[in-house]
């Protein structure tokens, strides 16, 4: 069988336009791949075969009649299961939402449809996107297609791994502290976290509202640029989405890139970074330099506080956001309730205790504590001030450079269960990605090598707010001089 999805997205589109294959053919191929691989990998948590094939047929019919087709040209894709799709279960990997059928579409789902992307199904994630390994999902852990004993990373593990495994050529994830970039790195694909406010969060189940952002996965930068194009832009239903014009990312990739200034940070290579990861990342930066970029040392002195800052701010916002799950309006409601003796509050407590898993409860507890009377100043408000220090470091650095290059994660994909009893160790693995969320800036992870045990390594590039074009150009430059992104798991 033709392995369609080892091809980059622009080749798939050429084939659709020239008639070498149809949208239906690609959707069927996606469904077959899922059927063959999903038992072993557990990436898709639901599949809408009928809906997808019907939409693909409509797109093929329009193309056959010479009518216009949207940017996504009838390509199949998957979306993380924390984005609402009307009438399709949106579980967030939680018992709490196992039977939730959204009565509306997320903004990104509307945009994908308008641009003729064919949504095949929903992808596995850590419960409520809280995690770095896609192990806390009520649907069971996702497995890394490069080595099934290892994690896909998380929380968008299903989205990253489904592209790596060739189930879909494109997918959407969300990134609150690295949840797109880290799994992209662990699975050897390209993943972009856009600037905060670039993509509407309407219909994205909220985790930490000041940090959450939706972004694309693809094999290569061109694919990610195309999907970003399709979903970016202002939406009045998300007041934090910004009215900033959306550039033509794909066209910008074609323009020549000269005088690219790449910042490097000494502190990235301190103790804790796996030596193989460190050397692959340095080699990638050397390739950028050989391709004409100027490498300039910069400092981010407050970056070392980012994990501590994040693990106060994100749980605080989560404890507030998740207060909405009360067993009344939607979501799980406890049956262990005696109307004669128990109060309304007993119903809330029991429903939430049954509906949430261990990591979600841990974060709700942490956030509730950080916001509670007597502790708010010491924890939450202090973290908000350090957050500004982290942002100011970036502002200063981006006066000197266009992008900052470094590792995505201190290690390659860890083994499933490796951090099961030590949440702090898991949190610390987010060290390199978290500060971009705190500062609101974009970051991209691109494959830059393999470890000796055959697991992918990623390079992270970060840029100033709304400089996605420059970021994508820099990442594309690396992909024109390397072919790590073209590698597929055996």
């Amino acid at each position: 069988m033709t392995d369609y999805f080892s091809r980059p997205v622009h080749e798939l589109i050429q084939g659709l336009q020239s008639g070498s294959w149809t949208s239906r053919k690609l959707a069927e191929h996606s469904l077959t791949q899922i059927e063959q691989q999903n038992d072993a990998l557990n990436l898709f948590v639901s599949v809408d075969a009928d809906g997808a094939l019907q939409q693909a047929d409509q797109i093929d019919a329009r193309r056959a009649k010479g009518e216009s087709v949207g940017l996504l040209e009838g390509l199949p894709l998957g979306i993380k299961d924390n984005m609402c799709q009307q009438g399709i279960a949106t579980t967030c990997g939680s018992q709490m939402l196992l039977n939730y059928l959204p009565p509306y579409d997320a903004h990104v789902v509307e945009r994908i449809r308008t641009q003729d992307g064919v949504i095949i199904g929903k992808l596995n994630l850590d419960e409520f996107a809280m995690g770095s390994s896609t192990e806390t999902s009520v649907q069971g852990p996702a497995r890394n297609p490069w080595n099934t004993d290892h994690s896909t990373g998380g929380s968008s593990g299903g989205s990253a791994a489904a592209v790596a495994a060739g189930m879909v050529p494109l997918s959407l994830g969300s990134d609150t502290g690295g949840s797109i970039r880290q799994p992209a790195s662990f699975c050897g694909v390209t993943g972009l976290k856009p600037t905060y406010g670039r993509v509407s969060r309407y219909g994205l189940v909220a985790f930490a509202s000041s940090l959450d952002q939706i972004g694309p996965f693809a094999r290569d930068v061109q694919g990610a640029a195309l999907l970003l194009q399709a979903i970016a832009g202002h939406d009045r239903r998300d007041s934090t989405s910004v009215e900033e014009p959306v550039p033509d990312y794909s066209a910008d990739l074609k323009s020549s890139i000269e005088g690219l200034r790449v910042g490097i940070v000494d502190a990235h290579y301190a103790e804790g970074l796996d030596s193989e990861v460190g050397s692959q990342v340095k080699e990638a930066i050397a390739k950028l330099e050989a391709a004409g970029a100027e490498v300039i040392p910069v400092e981010l002195p407050h970056a070392k506080y980012s994990v501590a800052t994040y693990y106060l701010i994100a749980p605080s916002e989560a404890s507030s956001n998740l207060a909405r799950y009360d067993g009344i309006h939607y979501g799980h409601r406890s049956e262990e309730f005696d109307p004669a003796n128990d109060s309304l509050i007993d119903l809330y407590c029991q429903s939430r205790s049954e509906g949430f898993g261990a990591e979600v409860k841990r974060r709700i507890m942490l956030g509730t504590y950080a916001l509670s009377a007597g502790y708010r100043d010491a924890y939450y408000l202090r973290a908000l001030k350090v957050r500004r220090r982290i942002r100011e470091d970036y502002d200063r650095a981006f006066e000197k450079v266009d992008v900052i290059a470094g590792p995505v994660c201190p290690t390659t994909a860890f083994r499933l269960g490796e951090h099961a009893d030590d949440p702090l160790a898991m949190y610390l693995s987010d060290l390199y990605t978290i500060s971009a969320n705190l500062a609101g800036i974009p970051g991209i992870s691109v494959p830059c090598g393999n470890s000796s045990s055959g697991l992918p390594v990623g390079l992270q590039l970060q840029g100033p707010a709304f400089a996605e074009s420059r970021l994508l150009q820099a990442a594309h430059l690396l992909q024109t001089v390397t072919d790590w992104h073209a590698q597929v798991p055996a």
Binding site: T309, Y330, S343, C349, R352, M365, T368
Partner: protein
């Protein structure tokens, strides 16, 4: 850290086993975040959001919203018109 009090504020019933698991984990995290005490935050404004937003207004116009049956469609208990909740006016006598 009084975990039982925090659980109550968070509207969670935690088992004895859960409390025993979380106690050292949460203490460990709080010890770690104490590193923030060494940062100079004198005269730094809080940064609650990634974008420095002003308030966003919209015109006060009627617009379409969910139909009642859609809004109720995911509720665990309804009478077809309203969400059903336990009685709250007559508290238990204990």
């Amino acid at each position: 850290m009084d975990l039982s009090k925090i659980a109550k504020l968070a509207r969670l019933n935690l088992s004895e086993e859960e409390l025993q698991t979380y106690e050292p984990q949460l203490s460990g995290i709080l010890e770690y975040v104490a590193v923030l005490d060494e940062v100079d935050i004198e005269d730094v404004a809080e940064m609650p959001h990634a974008v420095d937003l002003q308030n966003v207004f919209r015109s006060d116009e009627r617009a379409e919203s969910l139909e009642r049956d859609q809004a109720l469609s995911n509720a665990p208990r309804t009478d077809g018109q309203y969400f059903q909740v336990p009685r709250i006016l007559e508290q238990k006598s204990s």
